[in-house]
Subunit: 100 residues, 2 copies
């Protein structure tokens, strides 16, 4: 079952683009680990927030990805730039109106 | 710029699957209107919530889609089943680690 992880990361003022750069750095290990989509975004009305929406082959694939060296390194690099405010949802995809 | 709309819809108890059925009904007008992705999901830990994550060609395409007859009809059909609790984020996609 496709698993979705959508969320917001609060960043320390002035560091949004640094966090975006870390999160969007090309990482071929993600697709190998079962990541189907990983979009990173911003909204100028919320300048201290980075938005992420991810789709994974399964919740297990997502959980396992957090142990990848590349992901752990990215988390360690981003952590000092984060405010600690986080939000989001995780859910199981059950359908789409785009499919017949 | 790809635009993302992610959110949660609170539903009246017992009506989650009815709302999922409305939202996942095949609607070819969405792709014509610039919808790139529209995933609907659930989480049994939150049985009175429906989750949605959408990608659109632009914020304008998303806004215009709300005027489509098919979308207005779906909103009118779902409205009596919703609790009124809603959450979510809208943002501009700036990149993905899946791309080189």
């Amino acid at each position: 079952m496709t698993f979705a992880n959508v969320g917001t990361l609060g960043v320390k003022p002035g560091h949004r683009d640094d966090v975006v750069a870390i999160l969007t750095r090309h990482n071929p290990q993600l697709a190998e680990a079962g990541c189907l989509q990983y979009e990173v975004g911003v909204d100028d009305e919320h300048p201290d927030t980075v938005f992420v929406t991810e789709l994974w082959e399964s919740a297990e694939a997502h959980r396992a990805s957090l142990q990848l060296d590349s992901v752990r390194a990215a988390i360690a690099e981003a952590m000092p730039l984060l405010s600690g405010e986080m939000g989001g949802s995780q859910f199981t995809v059950v359908g789409s109106p785009l499919q017949g």
